[in-house]
C-alpha cells in the first residue's frame, strides 16, 4: 500500500490522493503535506532550483522512514513523491500523504515522515539567485524537528 517515487516530472497531487482515499472505506482520515518551491529564501529572491539526489540510497532511506512510521502508528497507506532536477517557484517539491482510520495517527505519521525525510534522505538543493547559484545549507530547525520524535 506504501509507495515511494522519485521523479523529474511534476506529480499529480489530486490523483495520488484519490488513489489512496477512494479505495478503502476503512479510511477515516487522509493527511497530505505538500512542500512547494518558494520564490524567496534566506533574504534573497530565488528564480529556480536544482535538486540532486543519491539514487538507490534515497529509496532505501525513505523506506526505512516509512517502516518506522508503520511500526509506530496504525496506518492504512503512505505515499511519498519527491521531485528532482530543475524546479521553479510554485512547483510542488515533495508530497507526503498518510491514510488512517483516525486523524491523530495520520497527522503524527505525516509530520514524522517529512521531518525525517528532511534530515535523513539524501537530497540536495541548489538555488539560483541574482548573485548566482548556491547550495542550500541544512537548517538547524530541521534537526530540531526530527529530534522531537526520538523521545516520544
Amino acid at each position: 500500500m506504501d509507495q515511494i517515487t522519485i521523479q523529474t516530472t511534476p506529480f499529480d497531487i489530486a490523483a495520488i490522493q484519490e488513489e489512496m482515499r477512494a479505495g478503502d472505506p476503512a479510511i477515516g482520515a487522509l493527511v497530505t503535506f505538500v512542500g512547494q518551491m518558494r520564490d524567496f529564501n534566506d533574504g534573497d529572491p530565488v528564480s529556480a532550483m536544482t535538486l540532486e539526489h543519491y539514487p538507490g540510497m534515497t529509496e532505501k532511506a525513505l523506506q526505512k522512514i516509512l517502516d518506522q512510521a508503520n511500526r509506530r502508528w496504525e496506518l492504512l497507506g503512505i505515499r511519498v513523491v519527491h521531485r528532482v532536477g530543475e524546479l521553479k517557484p510554485l512547483d510542488p517539491i515533495v508530497l507526503v500523504a498518510v491514510a488512517s482510520a483516525h486523524r491523530g495517527e495520520a497527522f503524527r505519521a505525516c509530520e514524522f515522515v517529512i521531518d525525517y525525510l528532511k534530515t535523513r534522505a539524501p537530497f540536495w538543493k541548489k538555488e539560483r539567485t541574482p548573485d548566482g547559484e548556491r547550495w542550500v545549507d541544512a537548517r538547524v530547525s530541521d534537526d530540531e524537528a526530527e529530534a522531537r520524535w526520538r523521545d516520544s
Partner: protein, 84 residues
C-alpha cells in the same frame, strides 16, 4: 575495488562524481579513505580538512569514520541533506 561517490557541493568542489580505489588497508573504513584522499592535496585536502561537515555512507546506509569497508562496497561522501 571500492566504488567512491561524491554528491552536491562536494562533487563540484572535487570536480568529479565517482571513482574507484583498490581495496586495501588504506580503504578499510571511510576514515582511512579520507586519509588517502587528503594526500592528493588541493581541493581534496580542503574538502576533507574538517572545516565543512561531510557525511558518509557505506552501501547506501548512513556510516561513520569507522564503518568497515570491504572489496566491492560503495562508499559515498556528501554534505548534510537539504531535501523536502
Amino acid at each position: 575495488m571500492i566504488r567512491i561517490l561524491y554528491f552536491a557541493r562536494l562533487r563540484e568542489q572535487l570536480g568529479t562524481g565517482a571513482e574507484e580505489l583498490p581495496a586495501s588497508p588504506e580503504s578499510a573504513t571511510p576514515g582511512a579513505i579520507i586519509g588517502q584522499l587528503k594526500q592528493r592535496g588541493g581541493p581534496w585536502a580542503e574538502v576533507f580538512a574538517g572545516d565543512q561537515p561531510v557525511l558518509m555512507s557505506v552501501n547506501q546506509e548512513v556510516a561513520d569514520l569507522d564503518t568497515p569497508v570491504t572489496d566491492g562496497d560503495e562508499v559515498a561522501f556528501f554534505p548534510p541533506v537539504t531535501g523536502g
